[in-house]
């Protein structure tokens, strides 16, 4: 499995002059832009914890992992359709393969947080442990969602485009640019329905302990995550024989 992932990674970066640096440069560009827009151009309004650049980076990296993982999973079965007829490995391996490749991209980009910590000279407290919890939860959530998205888009190609729209909307619906604490009281439980809300908040509490949302928010958020994982696995089981026919 890891051998296949290594092949995918080397194949992806081999042609590029800067190679693996691109795993870092893409989210870096995104976080710098966002920081410029929301801190410099629209400064004054506090969108979230300070320093804002670090606040952004901590959420943008997982977000990048999420969005690139889900959008490439739309091609998981289609992209490997040549190998599916002969592969004696479980069908879901093509999804796992894409997911792990993207996870490595994410891990490669983590030094960016270190970089942001150094230039803002802000270091996390003991609650940084939640960062790893968030990582695990996100991994599980992405496995389920990737399965769901990959299964459906193998059968309905239009679905890949729908996913792209949903992901774009999800960027603004999730607390990447802002803090969940800024959402008005009435809308907060609606915001907590977003599985990413809980995850992104957990990533941040190491630096900003006030970011914690009430227990109820986490339960809601992770409940929805769990639901997606279940939905992904069930959908895949139901559609597996049809996916294989398309290969």
């Amino acid at each position: 499995m890891f051998l296949l992932v290594r092949r995918d990674l080397s194949q992806k970066y081999r042609k590029l002059k800067l190679g693996y640096l691109w795993a870092i440069l893409e989210p870096l560009g995104m976080s710098v832009t966002m920081w410029f827009v929301f801190e410099i151009l629209l400064g004054g309004r506090k969108m979230g914890g300070q320093p804002y650049y670090l606040f952004l980076t901590v959420a943008i990296l997982p977000w990048w992992w999420f969005t690139s993982g889900i959008s490439s999973s739309t091609r998981a079965f289609v992209g490997f359709s040549r190998t599916l007829p002969v592969s004696v490995l479980p069908t879901q391996f093509s999804v796992v393969r894409v997911l792990i490749t993207r996870t490595f991209d994410f891990l490669f980009s983590l030094p960016l947080i270190l970089f942001a910590m150094l230039i803002t000279w802000t270091f996390p407290g003991i609650q940084i442990g939640y960062f790893f919890l968030a990582f695990v939860i996100q991994l599980v959530l992405m496995y389920g969602l990737s399965l769901l998205v990959a299964s459906i888009s193998a059968l309905v190609p239009d679905f890949a485009r729908i996913v792209r729209i949903i992901l774009r909307a999800a960027f603004y619906l999730s607390p990447v640019l802002y803090s969940l604490a800024l959402v008005p009281e009435g809308a907060r439980s609606a915001a907590a329905l977003n599985p990413l809300a809980g995850i992104l908040t957990l990533y941040r509490v190491g630096w900003w302990p006030d970011e914690h949302v009430p227990m109820f928010g986490y339960v809601l958020s992770f409940g929805v995550s769990f639901f997606f994982v279940l939905a992904g696995i069930i959908t895949f089981r139901r559609l597996e024989h049809r996916i294989l026919k398309e290969a």
């Binding site: 690139s68 091609r75 007829p85 002969v86 190609p157 294989l244 398309e246």
Partner: protein, 281 residues
């Protein structure tokens, strides 16, 4: 977890039990082009699935060498192989197997031009269920049998389709499985390489390895197979000797094979485009 369920207590090597299968008439991902969409709009082609197998039951005993023939020119014998190997799931009925079945399909199309030959061997080997250690161990055998020599560390894009077929064939054989399901010709390559292939395959046959040979390659079937199953309209119309089967179908020539090769060469070009799609977004 494994897709392929193996039932070691089964007396037969592979058993088809009242299998029904329908397949989509055109592959969805190939229907993406504008012309294909227009055709579908004009109802010249449809997405309706067609029945491929309708209640097929037969048993392959260990050591059998079965020719699978479809009376229709463009038959669905590849689906039978995929069902046997477990890379396709029947709509109704069951396919059981007592050991791993290695499918040998899409020979040239499996090679990824962007990787080196060695990397390709690893990737294909893993897909066929070998562990990296096993592949390393059998690498020498693969290199010498496929006649790779120095080509092993060059990029596969330099390989002609003929060599690609040889590589995939050799890696499949290196799995040392007890059951093989092959499509088209059992043997690949030029005259000289065919001899190597025949020697290997006949050695395996003498050792009691089971083969399913699909397609319409009459000479190969006559020489190699001990039994034939003929399908017509998704049903078995004959299960007997190869001679009986060929009498029924009419002796077909090797035309089928050349057609298949053309198809595979197209596959190779296709492959490049498809791989490029899997890129950084």
């Amino acid at each position: 977890m494994a897709r392929v369920h193996i039932d070691p207590d089964l007396p037969a090597a592979v058993e088809f039990d009242d299998v029904f299968l329908t397949m989509p008439r055109t592959k969805r991902r190939k229907g993406g082009g504008r012309s294909a969409r227009l055709k579908r709009f004009a109802q010249e082609t449809s997405r309706v699935s067609e029945p491929v197998l309708e209640g097929v039951s037969f048993t392959v005993a260990p050591g059998d060498r079965v020719a699978v023939i479809d009376r229709a020119k463009r038959g669905h014998t590849a689906e039978i192989l995929r069902l046997a190997a477990g890379t396709l799931i029947p709509d109704h009925g069951h396919v059981r197997r007592s050991t791993e079945v290695i499918p040998i399909l899409r020979r040239a199309g499996l090679i990824n031009a962007k990787l080196t030959v060695r990397q390709n061997i690893f990737v294909i080997g893993i897909l066929l269920g070998m562990s990296p250690d096993q592949i390393t161990e059998r690498m020498d055998w693969i290199t010498s049998t496929a006649g790779l020599g120095k080509a092993i560390d060059s990029y596969a894009r330099a390989c002609p389709p003929e060599l690609r077929r040889r590589i995939v064939w050799t890696v499949s054989m290196a799995t040392q499985a007890r059951v093989f399901a092959t499509q088209g010709s059992l043997i690949v390559g030029d005259e000289q390489y065919r001899e190597v292939g025949w020697a290997h395959v006949e050695g395996l046959a003498a050792d009691g390895v089971t083969f399913l040979v699909a397609g319409q390659n009459a000479p190969v079937m006559e020489r190699f197979c001990t039994r034939a199953v003929v399908l017509d309209q998704g049903r078995i119309v004959l299960d007997g000797t190869v001679a009986e089967a060929l009498d029924l179908v009419g002796r077909s020539t090797l035309v089928e094979e050349t057609e298949e090769q053309v198809e595979e060469d197209v596959d190779v070009l296709d492959n490049r485009a498809e791989r490029d799609d899997f890129r950084a977004d």
